[in-house]
Symmetry: C2
Subunit: 645 residues, 2 copies
């Protein structure tokens, strides 16, 4: 008999050789039907794989990230089986699960696959899935594996096998007629896959090396229910409409220029207005919470980064150093603000009475990303962190976390996000020697973080062993209106930089102490955050943030003077907008205003002017149309407007 | 006979061979006594040098910059004569006039000169000056010059002579016993020099080359009247007290760090608060005048600067290019914002109806300055320009100049500067082919600038031939409280960049046209401007701009709660400050607040608290002490405060 410990801590006994599926069945048949794979002692296994010793077992279903990954990895095999059936002599590269779905890179020889073939592939996959074939695992020697794939003629698999050690034991998985070199794990059988969509076909170099064979990458996604696929396709459609790259161009928020460089956003007037308003709002909230803004240069000497330790990590994949006319003088484009802020702290002696000191900077930093990884505002080469560094005593860590959490939750909320969680990364309790800083301080800081998140009611997950060597941290995640998760910023405790920069304060005991440093950028970067916000609100920004809050649409030139009068009155009430003075028809003006996501359209014609009124149309949220609110006085409109802020 | 034309246009006739001094004497003996040298056909000459043909002559006195330069250059010769008398065998390098005064670099062999010797040197100079020796000019061949200085043993002069062409005719000047290799011009005689001050002695490498001999540099200044020297020494004393590097440290406005790099200011919290307030004020004023803020990256690809033409000028004395992992991809640290703004303009088509478009950015740029040239905030390697680029039609140039002048004069005035002038740089009318842009547009723009400055009543000087090849410009100058002139920013018309970036707009004729571009940065840079402002107001910033407007000084801890109450009430009225809660005596708190240039000190003791009042001390301007305003209610203080904004 062996002991199986479940996540809730309960222990059950089974015959040696029982599988996770046996465990599931012993609990409930319903549960067993939903099991996709299982985490056995931290490793994801086939649900049917026999367990031979006492183990910790977590059953994985569609609700678990790892469960989904098993589902999609098995779907990649199913795709391969279908492709082999449809395209004789196709050769297989690799076929992993990805964040959403899976792909297989294949060499189709002289055949080609296009969008017109998707239906056929989907149908073949569903047909094979219904056969309820199991995924059978088989250990095999390297020699036998070579023989097998040589016979099959799969040269790419052979190349992968050649790289493995001579004594390494390999595994094959077979479902139906398809056999693949694979570590697994896989689903109990193919019938779990009930809905299939091939999303696209494209090119990809073998092993990501542009000197090698160009493969055909077939990308797809599968679900356990048809309804989930329908929802997913709807979400994709909606995400396309909300793509911040598309909206950013339509709303004239930002641009890119080939000459300035890829991944370097340029903020156009409307985007600058929006971003500045957001920064001002954050600045005000930070001032209220005791932050002190500073401004530091965008470059720093090599010395600075040697001291901070970043220089060692500076590699060939980074922006390269900047030389100067002076021999040996080298500057680096600033990849983060912390070393500069350490220099500010170290500029004069500090007493414990001054702590915590919170230096804040909307600091623009530059990091070289591969061009293939760049994506609109969410993956860039230059971005502005909503950065701050807090220098405090070990006893102040908890209050500082509370302060940062309060700020972040207040602000995130003000921006219309409701689903907000965090991951806490703690040290590996079995491996304490690899961390810098005293045991006492780590315990204090970890406890402080956990308690602070509980006190503010923030939902968190905890990951042991995920902390950096220099301190525990907390990562923020938001879910947007389409249910997609976005990683935002971080609060990171740091015992390392204060040591490296020899930062000190005089304690109440009149002795010198090292402060604790806390890095925090709740949004991560203004660029990324505004990208996410744009998709979340589909370009209909919260009224207080919108670059323009209204547009006046005069029916003809005759009403321009009155429109000007209305505009002045609104401006006097801090309501910002413009007049559409073009000679276009009113219908066209309204349509254009809708494309521009204008919160309010104020139409002015003969009747409105003679009655001293404006005809107000309020833009709807989501898919709703614009709401006609009828004619009202400017004062009534102002009163209504103010209730919405 | 020859015709001599004077600056007022009048023409007088003299015998050929008459000198400028003869001209002066023919006008008045008083004038002749004041003549130091003369500009003859644009070149500065000895006043006594014979003129042989029809010429334009301008007599130069102490009131002319060139007159002062002659005075100080002659003083350098007088210094050399004194040094030769006092230090046998001293060898001479070069001895030019500088902006204020003059120096001579000498090799003293095994003798040394220290501050204790200054008196002796000054007395010797005055003694020699009283001899009323003339400065006698003598043409000499290179060969004879070599023979002369070889005999004298002046190896440095020999090196200078060796560099001259074989046929070049050289000149010597002699006063008293001292003979120097010199092009002149010089004073009529030494007796004009009535007041002498040796300011400092230091080291300087021969020819500025750090591999050559270290010379002794003796720096001095002279005046035609003792009173002027006294005033100058007082000004120096005052300037030292006001040195923004010293005040910046005392007031904790900014710092430099060896690790971050020389010439890269880091703004501390109080400096950041001040700078941000100034930027916000400018931003508001610019918004009112129709500017649109944009934000662009701090780097740009080489392509951008090849297009703009700046790349050609990018040399070994600049920050060097930034390479990336991608072969041939090169970025440059942005030395100016204009190419980026051209890309913004070029991002979409424009109609004449949209013009003028005014893109504004507080853009931080980086330029490598030699380390010896760096000076506090006024000469740096990284600075933030209050930059904007206006794209307009040729007909809009004048209105745009009026708009910029209005903004600049309004803002400069609000900052307490009263003496404000400008230099207009026009094209050389005799050399029109070297300029880009049509004759018509140049005429229009030059007329527009001149008319605009007249309309706003700005005092200007005009310099023909000083315009850049791509357009005329206007430079702003302010005089500070010590009477020193500071060059601030510029308005520059540009016909070149719109051409290079192929910028266009559709005119009312439905055809494409090139816009005119205007660069403008009225302050030049935030760093430089704040440096100048700090010295102008001696650290006592205008009340609206001061980082802290008051400090509450409780006499003991007992009054902290009441102090907190007062602070909240002031904060609610947008009056910012802090409480000095240290356990120091009140006298010490007051002295510290004075050092910190605190505009108001609010003292709270038993009596103030019981009566619900505060004892107000207002800081004086300039050398005045703090004024005791007695006890008053917080409301009365707020009312008084608001009258001062």
């Amino acid at each position: 008999m062996m002991n199986i410990t479940l996540p809730d801590g309960s222990v059950r006994q089974y015959e040696a050789g029982a599988s996770a599926m046996d465990v599931a069945k012993s609990i409930s048949e319903g549960l067993a039907r939903n099991v996709l794979s299982a985490k056995v002692n931290g490793e994801v296994w086939d649900a049917n794989r026999p367990i031979h010793e006492d183990s910790v077992v977590q059953l994985l279903t569609w609700n678990d990230k790892d469960g989904k990954q098993t589902f999609w990895h098995s779907s990649a095999h199913l795709l391969a089986e279908a492709l082999e059936a449809l395209y004789p002599n196709v050769k297989f590269g690799t076929g992993p699960a990805i964040e959403s779905g899976f792909y297989y890179d294949i060499d189709t020889g002289d055949q080609s696959i296009s969008a017109e073939d998707f239906k056929k592939i989907e149908q073949k996959m569903l047909e094979l899935a219904r056969q309820k074939n199991t995924f059978d695992r088989k250990d095999i020697s390297k020699e036998d594996a070579i023989a097998f794939f040589k016979e099959k003629g799969d040269e790419y698999k052979l190349e992968l096998i050649e790289k493995r050690g001579a004594d390494e034991s390999l595994t094959l998985y077979q479902q139906g007629n398809f056999v693949d070199l694979c570590k697994g794990p896989h689903l109990p059988d193919t019938s779990k896959i009930k809905a299939v969509k091939i999303l696209k076909v494209g090119g990809a170099y073998w092993q990501g090396d542009d000197t090698r064979q160009q493969m055909t990458r077939v990308v797809g996604i599968t679900f356990p229910k048809q309804k989930e696929l329908t929802q997913y396709m709807h979400m994709l459609e909606e995400a396309k409409k909300r793509d911040h790259r598309k909206l950013g161009q339509e709303l004239e928020l930002f641009m890119f220029s080939e000459k300035v460089g890829q991944g370097l956003p340029i903020w156009l007037p409307k985007g600058t207005a929006l971003r500045s308003r957001l920064e001002d709002f954050l600045k005000q909230e930070q001032l209220k919470r005791g932050y002190q803004p500073v401004i530091t240069p965008h470059i720093g000497k090599k010395d600075l980064y040697v001291t901070s330790g970043h220089y060692e990590k500076y590699g060939e994949d980074s922006f390269q150093p900047i030389n100067t006319p002076k021999d040996g003088e080298i500057f680096l484009l600033k990849p983060m603000n912390c070393p500069h802020h350490c220099e500010v702290y170290g500029n004069k002696p500090h007493s414990y009475k001054e702590l915590p000191i919170r230096y804040a900077e909307f600091g623009t930093v530059y990091r070289y990303e591969q061009s293939g990884e760049l994506h609109g505002l969410t993956r860039v080469r230059g971005f502005t962190q909503d950065d701050a560094h807090i220098f405090c005593t070990p006893d102040q860590v908890k209050d500082e976390f509370l302060n940062v959490l309060d700020l972040t939750m207040h602000v995130i909320n003000k921006l219309g996000f409701e689903d907000f969680t965090a991951q806490i990364s703690l040290r590996d309790p079995n491996n304490r020697e690899k961390y810098i800083g005293s045991d006492e301080n780590w315990d204090k800081a970890e406890r402080a973080i956990i308690e602070a998140t509980k006190e503010v009611g923030l939902t968190t997950t905890m990951e042991l062993g995920e902390a950096a060597f220099y301190g525990p941290k907390l990562d923020f995640m938001v879910k947007d209106a389409l249910g997609r998760s976005w990683q935002l910023g971080t609060i990171q405790v740091d015992y390392n930089l204060p040591e490296r920069f020899e930062l000190e304060y005089i304690g109440s005991d009149n002795k010198t102490h090292r402060p604790v440093m806390i890095h925090r950028a709740p949004f991560g970067s203004m660029e990324r955050f505004i990208g996410v916000l744009t998709e979340h609100c589909a370009g209909k920004f919260p009224l207080w943030l919108a670059p323009e809050q209204y547009i006046i649409l005069p029916i003809s030139e005759k009403f321009h003077a009155y429109a000007e009068e209305v505009k002045l009155k609104l401006a006097a009430n801090d309501i910002r907008g413009t007049i559409d003075e073009r000679g276009e028809k009113i219908g066209k003006k309204i349509r254009d205003a809708q494309v521009n996501k204008m919160p309010f359209m104020l139409v002015i014609g003969e009747r409105e002017m003679s009655e001293g009124k404006i005809a107000v149309r309020q833009s709807g949220q989501g898919d709703e149309g614009a709401g006609d609110m009828g004619a009202m006085t400017v004062d009534d409109f102002i009163a209504h407007f103010k209730t919405l802020l």
